[in-house]
């Protein structure tokens, strides 16, 4: 099979790479997670082995940091003396590149790949020296830590807090032909550290304690392992692309990352993307919308994070739930995610406790077999969590606090007066009532404050001994403690109930909106109706002006739909065009062309966009995630609708094609039968003519005449039908004399009327009327023929004409005493190729169709009816106006 052969281009590129590698020296990297894992040691051991194998090798530079074990290994290896470089009165030693190149060994050891050379060296970076060595065809052994990889430096900084200045571009690392991972467990490393076997650079030494924390080491180790795995995988992929099979190796893993408005989510998204890429896994970004409203800034950041995820290839899911953990697990299960990635909470412990544990705890409890990755957030980027944000929408917290203090003050005043009569316990109950009432009105923050303040006030002013915070009696103490607990719990509980209620309501609003939409759509009969309904719904729901652009059917341009409630400017057209071509949202509230007025949502079906929905919100409006989601749902519904319509159109076209196919077959069958019958008669009769006697000859001649007439009629009908269908028929209206016309028509079909008693009832003073005489003559002839053909011999045929009572129409009626026309038959009577079941042989069923065509062309009409007393009646009506004056002589 052709597609199992390797792609020739890929093969060639791979060969090129191979060639280059053969010419170049080979690079082997001894790779570790951090200093002290024994890279240099491993390198030297490998070198000793090479030396034993007779390889010509030299040591370019090796840092032993005075470790005895390392020094021991260095023994016996030829070392190129280092170059001395004077810099600011300090003597620095660097590898003598020129000397190594001049010596041209087979293999050179160059420690610390990421090292920065002293000023005045040939290259600023040691890896550049290495590249030159490789170019010279010399193999190089080198060492490197994961923190020095440019793409991982950021991650390491987040893990350890130490900033790395010496980095190696990933592309240079990519030159490595072989990577040896030098791996030890964090425990072993710490042991070595405590034994003083690990050397730290000056700057890092200060942070050493932090650097070598167990958790950090684990993370670094994973990072290093993953990096190597990824690198190996890349090599594997390279091999694969020239292999003979193209199946994608998938790890079967699917990652899910929880995305929020926090800047750390950005890092989370990138981290997940790296993970997913290294695992060859697909990933989804989930945003759980809670009832907590986001401020404009948070909203913007959230959308940015989500769009970043989208750009990096994630599938984005937005869901609504106040229980974030539950929502994440739900989405994970729905999407077969195997790993959930969340940011590490930076909330204070007590905050998490109030919230019933932090997200990670909750996730761990409910995630089942799904792996949970907790990625620490970058400290600097993290804004301290503002839990006061957790408040009902639209009310400023200051006002709520004012309300809290006003109510408590009023209550305290009242309490002060009634306490002599009621006792301080009743006052406490009043306070409790106030807190509960407040919890119905204000956010959890103010409620919490109300609880605390009221408790303290009660204690200070009312619980004896008054004016102290001390509580004398044990029962009072119990009372106070209970009060405090009840006030706090009720407050928070009520707030939560309200939040849930709001959430419910929001969800219901969405559901209702969608329900209304689907209902409107299903009620719509045409696409236009549906679009109209959908846009009006959108208008109402978003309080916006909406417009819709649909593609023109062949995907080359967008056409505005008439149902839009605003005129789309050229600028918006361009934005819509972008959204359409890129199948991504654009315009306001997005990253693409955000300065435009409208929010553009493409109507995407499968992998094509069939149009763009534009929402034009008021200038000061914001678009919540829920609304955005709803807008997308609207767009999805519309897309589905458009697709359905397109499918229907295709179906219709196919049906039409099938119909016309059937028609053609009928026509062909009919025509061949109709043509061949008279031809058969003709050829037989003509043959017989020569041998027949006189009497038979006359009969034969008659047969021949009949056959020719039939043929002639058939050909005429076909030609007339063609004229009608091609639109070539242009009636020449002229004043006609009904008698002349009827006479001519009757003459033309007189032979067919033989055998039918024929009666004509036309008033002698039938006025002139305007018609195309030739067409009308044929109409009448066809009417008569039709009756003659469809009725048994011997039954009567009537022809009548006249002007109707209103004198607006002139009519011609042909009635017969045949089997009549069943009602079902009448509907399709005038379609072409309709032949009565009882039709005698002959005729294509074109007669009536031609009648209708001709009559309609002259502005008239033809109707079929029942003849009282049996039989069919066909009446042709033509518009009638009196002719103008004839000049007197």
């Amino acid at each position: 099979m052709p597609d199992q052969r390797p792609d020739p281009d890929a093969l060639l590129a791979s060969l090129h790479r191979e060639e280059e590698r053969a010419r170049r020296g080979k690079l082997k990297v001894f790779f570790g997670m951090c200093p002290g894992v024994g890279k240099t040691f491993a390198m030297l051991r490998a070198a000793q082995q090479e030396l034993k194998d007779g390889v010509d090798l030299v040591v370019g530079v090796v840092e032993t940091h005075g470790r005895a074990e390392t020094e021991a290994l260095l023994a016996g290896l030829p070392v190129i003396p280092r170059k001395q470089i004077e810099y600011k009165n300090i003597t620095i030693t660097e590898m003598d590149l020129e000397a190594v190149l001049a010596r041209k060994p087979r293999l050179v050891l160059v420690d610390e790949f990421a090292h920065t050379n002293a000023p005045g060296s040939r290259h600023p970076k040691r890896y550049q020296d290495v590249v030159e060595l490789l170019d010279a065809g010399i193999d190089v052994f080198t060492t490197l830590n994961v923190q020095h990889i440019e793409s991982r430096a950021d991650a390491v900084r987040q893990i350890t807090g130490a900033t790395v200045h010496e980095t190696v571009p990933d592309s240079v690392f990519g030159l490595a032909d072989q990577i040896e991972l030098v791996d030890i467990t964090p425990e072993a490393l710490r042991e070595r550290l405590s034994e003083g076997k690990v050397y730290m650079e000056g700057r890092a030494a200060a942070a050493a304690e932090n650097f070598f924390k167990d958790t950090h080491l684990t993370a670094l180790r994973e990072l290093a392992l993953r990096f190597v795995a990824e690198h190996v995988d890349k090599r594997l992929r390279e091999l694969r692309s020239v292999g003979t099979f193209k199946t994608v190796w998938r790890s079967g893993e699917r990652l899910l990352v929880a995305v929020g408005p926090s800047p750390s989510s950005t890092q989370l998204v990138r981290w997940t993307r790296r993970m997913a890429a290294s695992q060859g896994a697909s990933w989804i970004a989930v945003c759980v919308e809670t009832t907590t409203p986001l401020d404009a800034e948070g909203q913007r950041r959230l959308e940015k994070n989500l769009s970043l995820a989208r750009e990096l290839g994630a599938e984005v899911v937005v869901t609504h739930d106040n229980n974030v953990a539950q929502a994440l697990v739900r989405v994970a299960l729905q999407n077969n995610a195997t790993q959930i990635v969340v940011g590490k909470s930076r909330n204070p412990r007590w905050f998490d406790l109030i919230r019933g544990g932090n997200l990670v705890d909750k996730l761990l409890r409910s995630a089942g077999s799904i792996d949970i990755y907790v990625v620490p957030a970058e400290r600097a980027a993290e804004k301290p969590p503002v839990w006061l944000d957790w408040r009902p929408a639209q009310v400023s917290p200051a006002r709520e606090y004012a309300e809290v203090f006003a109510l408590l003050a009023a209550l305290t005043a009242v309490g002060w007066f009634i306490v002599p009569h009621s006792g301080y316990v009743a006052v406490g109950l009043f306070y409790l009532l106030a807190v509960i009432i407040l919890s119905l009105r204000v956010g959890p923050g103010p409620v919490f404050v109300a609880g605390v303040v009221s408790a303290l006030t009660w204690d200070y002013l009312f619980i004896p001994p008054v004016f102290t915070f001390t509580i004398g009696r044990f029962e009072d103490m119990l009372l106070f403690a209970t009060y405090f607990a009840v006030a706090l719990i009720t407050g928070q509980l009520t707030a939560r109930v309200r939040a849930q209620e709001r959430n419910e309501r929001m969800r219901e609003d969405r559901a209702t909106a969608l329900f209304h939409l689907t209902q409107a759509l299903s009620a719509a009969r045409t696409l236009d109706d549906a679009v109209f309904a959908a846009l009006r719904q959108a208008d109402a729901h978003f309080g916006a002006k909406t417009a819709l652009l649909l593609d023109d059917g062949n995907g080359s341009a967008l056409m505005p739909h008439f149902a839009g409630s605003f005129v789309i400017s050229d600028k918006e057209r361009a934005v819509a065009d972008w959204a359409w071509r890129n199948k991504r949202k654009a315009g306001r509230f997005t990253d693409t062309l955000p300065s435009s007025e409208g929010f553009h949502v493409p109507l995407v079906r499968e992998d094509t966009a069939v149009g763009v929905l534009i929402l034009k919100l008021p200038a000061d409006a914001t678009l919540t995630l829920a609304q955005r989601d709803l807008a997308e749902s609207f767009a999805a519904q519309l897309a589905q609708l458009v697709e359905r319509e397109q499918l229907r159109a295709v179906g219709e076209r196919e049906k039409l094609l099938a119909e016309s196919d059937k028609l053609h077959r009928t026509l062909l069958d009919g025509v061949s039968h109709e043509l061949k019958t008279p031809l058969a008669v003709l050829s037989a009769a003509v043959e017989n003519l020569t041998t027949a006697d006189e009497a038979t000859r006359a009969d034969l001649a008659h047969e021949i005449r009949t056959a020719t007439r039939r043929l002639n009629r058939l050909v005429n009908n076909l030609l007339d039908q063609t004229r009608l269908e091609s639109g070539a028929l242009r009636p020449r209206l002229d004043w006609c004399d009904g008698h002349d016309l009827l006479n001519a028509a009757i003459d033309g079909v007189s032979d067919s009327l033989e055998g039918h008693p024929f009666e004509v009832d036309v008033p002698k003073d039938l006025p002139l009327f305007r018609a195309d005489a030739a067409l009308m003559e044929q109409v009448i002839a066809n009417l008569l023929l039709n009756s003659a053909l469809h009725t048994p011999a011997g039954t009567e045929i009537f022809l009548a004409a006249g002007v109707d009572r209103a004198r607006s129409r002139i009519f011609f009626t042909v009635a017969d005493r045949g089997p009549g026309l069943p009602a079902a038959m009448r509907e399709r009577l005038f379609q072409k190729f309709q032949r009565g079941d009882a039709a005698k042989a002959g005729g294509l069923g074109l007669g009536l169709s031609i009648i209708r065509g001709f009559v309609t062309a002259q502005g008239g009409d033809v109707v079929a009816g029942e003849n009282p007393g049996g039989g069919a009646v066909l009446t042709v009506y033509l518009p009638y106006t009196e002719h103008g004056d004839v000049p007197a002589e």
Binding site: T708, N712, V715, N716, L719, R732, D734, W735, C736, D737, H739, D740, L741, N743, A744, V762, K764, L768, D772, A773, A774, E777, H883, G884, V886, P887, E889
Partner: protein, 229 residues
């Protein structure tokens, strides 16, 4: 070759039609010349000066109508047009261009010979007869008197003028246009109802069954024809 008998030139590109016409016409005692295209036909007309031309409207090299017009530029030879289902307007155009009669394919051979004879007789008449009779009608063109069964019929001036046109061109179709132009002037061409109204009156005065006229025939969409027998 130009024969001495009545010469008929057939201009038609269909060899079968030519053959059939030859058989039919020779059986009727005429000699037949053939041309298979317009130009060849024109040459034949010039060379042999036939007594009558049978001209097909659909010719390969030029339209029959153009052939007819060119013939009419220098010859008054009678021309019978053959058409295949041509629209009425084509027939009218041919008649207006000077054709003497037309026949629609398919046609009967008896009809063809009858038409040709009528044309030939007309053209052979040296001068217009003073009195023309058909059925029981007698039209005295010199005295401008019409008699039916011996008694005079009073016609209006226009009625007489119409009848006269038909009588003069008896056996031949007179188109509505020709009549209207001649009797009412070139601007009246659309007013065919004039003709219908007058013709109804003429028929009522002359025909035994005015609604089934025997002599004053209507050619649907084209004009009128006076049939003598």
């Amino acid at each position: 070759m130009c024969a001495a008998k009545t010469n008929v030139l057939v201009i038609d590109d269909e060899v079968q039609i030519r053959r059939l016409l030859r058989i039919t016409l020779e059986a009727a005692g005429m000699s037949v010349l053939e041309a298979n295209a317009g130009r060849a036909g024109l040459e034949e007309v010039a060379r042999c000066q036939p007594d009558v031309v049978v001209l097909d409207l659909g010719l390969p090299d030029m339209s029959g109508l153009d052939v007819l017009k060119q013939i009419r530029e220098w010859s008054r030879v009678p021309v019978l047009i053959l058409t295949v289902l041509a629209a009425e307007s084509d027939k009218v155009a041919a008649l207006d261009a000077g054709a003497d009669d037309y026949l629609t394919k398919p046609f009967g051979s008896a009809e063809l010979t009858a038409r040709l004879r009528a044309i030939l007789r007309r053209s052979s008449e040296e001068s217009e007869p003073a009195v023309v009779r058909f059925g029981d009608i007698e039209v005295d063109l010199a005295a401008r008197v019409v008699r039916r069964a011996g008694s005079e019929v009073r016609l209006t001036a226009k009625e007489y003028a119409m009848l006269r046109m038909l009588v003069v061109h008896r056996g031949k179709v007179v188109t509505h246009g020709q009549m209207l132009r001649e009797l009412w002037g070139p601007k009246a061409e659309e007013n065919t109802h004039y003709l219908r109204v007058h013709m109804t009156h003429i028929r009522q005065k002359l025909e035994a069954e005015p609604h089934k006229p025997r002599h004053l025939r209507t050619e649907s969409g084209i004009g009128y024809r006076l049939v003598e027998d």
